[in-house]
């Protein structure tokens, strides 16, 4: 997949409003993550790779769509780094690019069931597509 505009670490930092340099790599975020096993990259790696400028690796990560947005990582971070915001910012940079919507409306019907609340649909569309 080729990118028209290269996304830089600065873009992600700006969108997230996070200061990744504060991270001391203690791993408490990843220790707190309830969906750790489903993710290929983990919260502390988002801070670490961002520091190294390896945004592309983050953008290609499946973790973007496995994050539960539960904020446990942000809440428990002793240094106020807020990994959840980094993950969200990377996800945004991905879906803002052409053809990189993760989910489209036509894929939805197959996933629905009777009781599913609107909230699930609305949030899925907002999280995974433009």
């Amino acid at each position: 997949m080729s990118l028209t505009n290269k996304v830089t670490a600065e873009d992600v930092l700006r969108i997230s409003g996070v200061d990744a340099s504060r991270c001391m790599q203690c791993g408490k975020c990843s220790g707190a993550c309830p969906n750790y096993d489903e993710m290929d990259l983990h919260p502390h790696q988002f801070a670490a790779l961002l520091r190294k400028g390896e945004v592309e690796r983050l953008m290609e990560s499946n973790a973007l769509y496995q994050c539960l947005s539960c904020f446990a990582c942000s809440q428990r971070c002793p240094r106020n780094v807020e990994p959840a915001k980094i993950i969200e910012a990377v996800r945004l940079t991905v879906i803002r690019q052409k053809g990189r919507n993760y989910m489209t409306a036509d894929r939805l019907p197959e996933k629905l069931d009777e009781d599913l609340p609107q909230q699930a649909l609305v949030s899925a569309m907002r999280k995974y597509s433009k």
Binding site: R14, G17, S69, A72, Q75, L92, Q119
Partner: protein, 262 residues
């Protein structure tokens, strides 16, 4: 006492119980909830990106409408509360977001986060008081062991939500106690149920839901109450362990003697 009330989409459709029992109970407690004529969906997810302005606007309109009426804004759905509360914080504290949003909205007077967003539970705790609530109970739920499920959105990030101690909350337990029931504490009450993944990775959602329900069951819970429609859905449908999961407003209505069968 009159308050603005933001029900949100889900409460109009799949989570009618949360809404209706909330209104019935409020009426019983002498609280008038005024639903604004035009409100739009909050989006269900707080836009964490600092440059996301458009997705904040619907929340700001609701907040500004409450400001016009000079009222606090009451929410019921955890997700709506999370979104409105945090967007409101942005309008208070983040000058760039505030200015850019106001540029879009062109309100008569710019909105700067003046409205106070209160969750229904906060209304009960901070404005009405659990003691007053206790004295209004007509059907005490004696002997029922109820576990509170907080989930993520009400509690975190703790500094922004200001709802309760995010690691050791007690508001729903106090609420349960006020209704005459016995609260059951268990370790997973503030851990995520995985609801957002129910579409994408049902397996993960099932794993999380089961972890929560089995922990509650081990602790002796006979019922779980929650404030979040998605959590309710997930805990009900995605766990092997089965314990009744209800909206907190339903047990509230029951205790206050205003519950009608829907």
């Amino acid at each position: 006492m009159n308050y603005s009330y933001y029900p949100g989409c889900t409460l109009k459709t799949k989570a009618k119980e949360l809404d209706i029992y909330g209104r019935l109970s409020a009426a019983k407690l002498g609280i008038i909830l005024e639903e604004p004529e035009h409100w739009q969906c909050c989006g269900g997810v707080y836009p964490q990106g600092e440059d996301e302005i458009a997705t904040r606007l619907s929340s700001i309109r609701a907040l500004a409408a409450a400001k016009e009426k000079g009222q606090d804004l009451i929410t019921l759905c955890s997700a709506c509360h999370h979104v409105l509360k945090r967007v409101n914080n942005d309008m208070k504290r983040n000058a760039t977001i505030c200015q850019r949003a106001n540029n879009y909205l062109q309100l008569d007077t710019p909105y700067r986060g003046e409205t106070e967003v209160l969750h229904y539970l906060e209304l009960l705790r901070d404005r009405i008081g659990f003691d007053t609530l206790k004295s209004a109970v007509v059907n005490p739920l004696k002997g029922v062991n109820i576990a509170a499920y907080y989930g993520c959105l009400l509690l975190r990030p703790g500094k922004e939500m200001g709802f309760d101690d995010p690691e050791d909350p007690c508001i729903i337990e106090d609420f349960i106690r006020a209704l005459g029931a016995t609260p059951v504490k268990y370790s997973q009450r503030n851990e995520c149920c995985g609801g957002y993944l129910t579409l994408e990775n049902k397996g993960a959602a099932q794993k999380r839901a089961e972890a929560i329900l089995s922990s509650a069951a081990d602790a002796g819970a006979e019922m779980i109450v929650t404030a979040c429609p998605l959590c309710l859905y997930n805990l009900k449908n995605n766990a092997k362990t089965k314990i009744p999961v209800k909206y907190f407003t339903e047990v509230l209505a029951e205790a206050l003697g205003v519950k009608e069968e829907l």
